[in-house]
């Protein structure tokens, strides 16, 4: 039977599509170490020039919020519509604002 501790660890892969854009999460790879993770990321996610730069990091290192807490976590922003420019009524004729 497979022993999870003997499987190559998982790495999350982020690709920068082109200069000026930030890295985006595209998926994951299994690899024994960081160098191999980069090589596998290259072969798996950039076979068609999808990127100019790669990030890989051990999946176990990601800290994520709990979807069950999404309500209390994001709710405080809900009643603060005044953070959006459309909240303010500016008369017609006033331009460049």
């Amino acid at each position: 039977m497979s022993d999870p501790s003997k499987e190559w660890p998982l790495w999350e892969v982020f690709v920068r599509g082109k200069g000026g854009l930030s890295h985006h999460h595209v998926g994951s790879v299994h690899a024994a170490d960081a160098k191999m993770a980069l090589e596998h990321a290259r072969d798996t996610y950039t076979r068609r020039m999808e990127g100019v730069s790669l990030w890989v990091l051990p999946s176990a290192q990601i800290v994520s919020s709990d979807p069950g807490d999404a309500g209390p976590l994001f709710e405080p922003a809900e009643d603060k519509v005044y953070r959006h420019p459309t909240f303010y009524k500016i008369p017609d004729g006033i331009t460049h604002i």
Binding site: S2, P4, K6, W8, G27, D33, D43, R48, P67
Partner: protein, 329 residues
């Protein structure tokens, strides 16, 4: 993959699921929302997805075998480079899908072992042999064509990681079908012998391609549940009909004949009527009685066994280096 712990214990099925959670889940899915790895989901949904996604991944990996068979015998360098790139894509597709399935808490090694033990299935189509170069054309055109038909709706499947993997796969799959059709086009316009080869390949791959859509709707017990959960978006028969309607004119355009005497345009339906698939043959291939089923699994087992020392050595080497680095700090 999103940091799913795969060593942890799985939810025992004996646990009764909270009806309120189930209702909330069903409502989200009915509302076309995406379900993400850490969201609550019914165990049956998780199990169905692991089964479908791992089966899909295995099909991509086993699918490399019939075509890999022809890489060293491609008729010229252009065809060889293209076939090599296609087979590499299939490997990539398998990896996207394994990674997406792993987010549900089943490791890639577990899935591989399920394949090797015969517990997990893969598409029946890959248990047919590739006898001539024209088969490579027929596979790209028909098998990848049928796969695209199945996969396009899955880009909107309810499980987020699966849907995202399908978006990548669909983007890449179109080249596979076009290169296959191009091979058939050239053969069909070549010498009489070449045209015979193309027709022979179409004759042998047509019916197995129609089987790729699965059993008829009235004999597909999982379809209703999977459609309700938005894991599946169209029925088997709907997709099969669509495939026939699209493919028949493509065959006619290059002077090839679809091997079905019952095939006839139905003006009223605006679709082709076509003959009955041999479901006995389909059932036999599903049972593992396909012409080259044994060879396929043997090839996978051999690769798995012979790669074991490589996986082990790389892991131990990395552990040793990490320990040495830690000691030096």
């Amino acid at each position: 993959m999103y940091t799913t712990d795969m060593s942890g214990k799985k939810n025992a099925e004996a646990i009764t699921e909270d009806p309120a959670l189930i209702a909330a889940f069903e409502a989200r899915v009915a509302n076309d929302e995406f379900i993400e790895p850490k969201d609550w989901m019914p165990e049956a949904y998780r199990k169905t997805l692991v089964r479908q996604m791992s089966q899909h991944a295995h099909s991509e990996i086993v699918g490399m075998l019939p075509e890999g068979n022809w890489i060293s015998r491609a008729p010229n360098l252009r065809r060889k480079a293209i076939l090599l790139a296609k087979v590499q894509d299939e490997g990539g597709h398998g990896l996207y899908l394994y990674a997406a399935a792993e987010t549900l808490g089943t490791s890639r090694d577990e899935m591989t072992e399920a394949l090797l033990s015969g517990k997990a299935k893969y598409s029946t189509i890959f248990n047919y042999p590739t006898l001539t170069w024209a088969d490579i054309g027929a596979i790209g055109w028909l098998v990848d064509g049928a796969a695209i038909m199945n996969q396009v709706p899955l880009q909107r499947t309810s499980y987020g990681p699966y849907a995202r993997a399908m978006v990548r796969i669909c983007k890449e799959e179109s080249f596979h079908q076009r290169q296959g059709y191009e091979i058939m086009m050239h053969l069909a316009a070549g010498t009489p012998e070449q045209k015979r080869m193309a027709q022979d390949a179409l004759n042998r791959w047509w019916w197995p391609s129609l089987m790729m859509f699965g059993p008829p709707d009235d004999k597909s017990p999982n379809t209703a549940q999977s459609m309700r959960w938005r894991i599946k978006r169209d029925t088997n028969d709907e997709l099969r009909q669509k495939f026939v309607d699209i493919t028949v004119p493509q065959a006619e355009a290059i002077g090839l004949t679809v091997p079905d005497p019952a095939l006839k345009w139905n003006e009223e339906r605006g679709a082709y009527d076509f003959g009955e698939v041999d479901w006995e043959e389909f059932a036999a291939v599903v049972r593992g009685e396909g012409p080259v089923a044994k060879e396929r699994l043997q090839a996978r087992q051999k690769a798995w066994d012979e790669g074991a020392w490589v996986r082990e050595a790389a892991r131990v080497h990395a552990e040793k280096r990490a320990a040495a680095k830690l000691a030096a700090e």
